[in-house]
């Protein structure tokens, strides 16, 4: 068994990098924040057609992705939901500073399940007794959660609503609480709110600090120019209408 074990260990951890599997098509691996899932899903085939490259999307919470990039994840480009994470990576030299670009500003909305009996029109409506649970993203680490907390605080609602709050891990997770009707209301990103089960109304952008969303090319990337091209594509004539449709405020609009 020990011999078999050693063999298994060798098999598993031996370097199995095929030298001859040189891809003809370059692959661009994009690490992107969860709120971009829908928009990037649509952008992917368009960029592949224009560039001839294959695009691999790795979606996750900005914090997790940033940690992985810091520890050598095979990312070419990083689209963060908040600039602070990119700046932390800049500080440790994990990204190419000159490629740092503001690609959008996020907005938050007040959302509630379509099936719910009472419709909400503004944040103070969350005080109503029939609203028993309110979902927001975890303000400790999720940018949209931080914005939600700020807006509620600005209106003096935070302390009064605190006992009703349920935290989602990220903005999509928060939306799921509303989608499934597990909560009567919540605050999510406009970019994810457009789903059949949910109704939403805008929240005054003056109530929270702008959610500056920043992208950058990762230093380890074998093809930084392709990464830079994708950042340009997102902010270019093909990308802009799609990003706009998914509720992102684009540079030049704010």
């Amino acid at each position: 068994m020990t011999r078999a074990g050693l063999l298994a260990l060798l098999l598993v951890f031996a370097p199995l990098r095929p030298a001859d599997a040189q891809p003809v098509q370059p692959t661009l691996t994009v690490y992107a924040a969860a709120d971009l899932q829908m928009a990037f899903g649509e952008l992917k085939p368009l960029f592949e057609k224009v560039s001839g490259a294959r695009l691999t999307l790795v979606m996750g919470s900005t914090g997790n992705l940033a940690k992985q990039i810091e520890h050598g994840a095979p990312a070419d480009v990083f689209f963060a939901a908040n600039e602070s994470f990119v700046d932390d990576l800049k500080a440790v030299g994990a990204i190419i500073s000159q490629t740092r670009a503001l690609y959008a500003q996020g907005r938050i909305v007040l959302a509630f399940p379509k099936k719910s009996t009472s419709s909400l029109r503004e944040l103070p409506d969350l005080l109503r007794p029939e609203v028993r649970r309110i979902a927001i993203a975890n303000p400790a680490h999720a940018p949209y959660g931080r914005a939600a907390q700020e807006a509620l605080e600005r209106l003096g609602l935070w302390d009064r609503l605190r006992s009703k709050l349920v935290y989602g891990e990220n903005i999509r997770h928060t939306l799921q609480f509303i989608q499934t009707g597990a909560v009567e209301g919540g605050i999510v990103a406009l970019s994810v709110a457009d789903v059949p089960e949910v109704t939403y109304v805008p929240i005054d952008p003056k109530l929270y600090t702008p959610l500056n969303q920043v992208a950058a090319v990762v230093r380890r990337s074998p093809h930084p120019e392709l990464g830079a091209a994708f950042i340009q594509f997102v902010g270019g004539p093909e990308g802009r209408p799609i990003m706009k449709r998914y509720g992102f405020l684009l540079p030049g609009e704010f």
Binding site: M1, G5, A8, R17, N64, A73
Partner: protein, 217 residues
């Protein structure tokens, strides 16, 4: 529908289970039969992976095996890339599932009557032979149960894999990660289909295995 995650998951969890058997059998036997200094500590360390939140455990592992990490540097010097490859998913599955196997196998070995092993020894059998012909067959039920538990845990691992291997489609995205990604993208039909296929595959596999086990023992 992309079935790659299913193949990857099977490959990862089978490899991880083999690894678990190879490392867990000697360890379980050691914990069951020997008294040595630090044994209690070792027994605790074995179950620790079950205690920590998987993503946090995964993060610690990542720090360890990434290029700058203590283990990663050694691997890198040897030309082995572990983090963010399918082998990292094997590592994750192994770390997450070993405890289940070891505890079950240990209990199995402890329930074997030591006098039977002693009798075999007096008849001139080597330790190696005693283990394979007396201890293991008598503890086979517990060992099988532990193997099945470990395999299922390896197949279902999410948090540790997410951190050390990432959720890279077509490379390290195992079935649980793929299902999660589909749910996140609001592609519920595909998510449900993949969940269903995964559950059905494992059900068939385990039922087949159960039948095999009854034939043999």
């Amino acid at each position: 529908m992309d079935l790659f995650p299913l193949w990857l998951s099977l490959k990862v969890s089978v490899t991880a289970t083999v690894l678990t058997l190879a490392t867990g059998l000697p360890l379980a036997r050691l914990l069951a039969r020997r008294r040595f200094p630090g044994r209690d500590l070792a027994e605790t360390v074995v179950v620790l992976p079950l205690v920590l939140p998987p993503t946090v455990l995964g993060y610690y592992l990542l720090v360890l095996i990434s290029r700058q990490g203590a283990v990663g540097q050694v691997l890198d010097a040897a030309g082995i890339e572990l983090a963010f490859t399918w082998r990292a998913a094997v590592l994750a599955a192994w770390v997450g599932s070993s405890a289940l196997f070891i505890k079950a196998a240990q209990a199995g070995f402890e329930s074997v009557d030591g006098r039977l092993e002693q009798a075999a020894r007096t008849l001139g059998r080597s330790e190696w032979s005693v283990f394979w012909s007396i201890t293991l067959p008598l503890a086979s039920r517990a060992v099988m149960a532990g193997t099945v538990l470990a395999f299922c845990r390896a197949l279902g691992d999410f948090g540790i894999t997410l951190m050390v291997a990432g959720s890279i489609p077509g490379v390290t995205q195992t079935t649980p990660l793929a299902i999660y990604d589909l749910v996140q993208s609001n592609r519920m039909t595909e998510a449900n289909t993949l969940s269903l296929i995964a559950v059905a595959t494992v059900t068939l596999l385990l039922m087949g295995l159960g039948r095999l086990a009854r034939l043999r023992f």
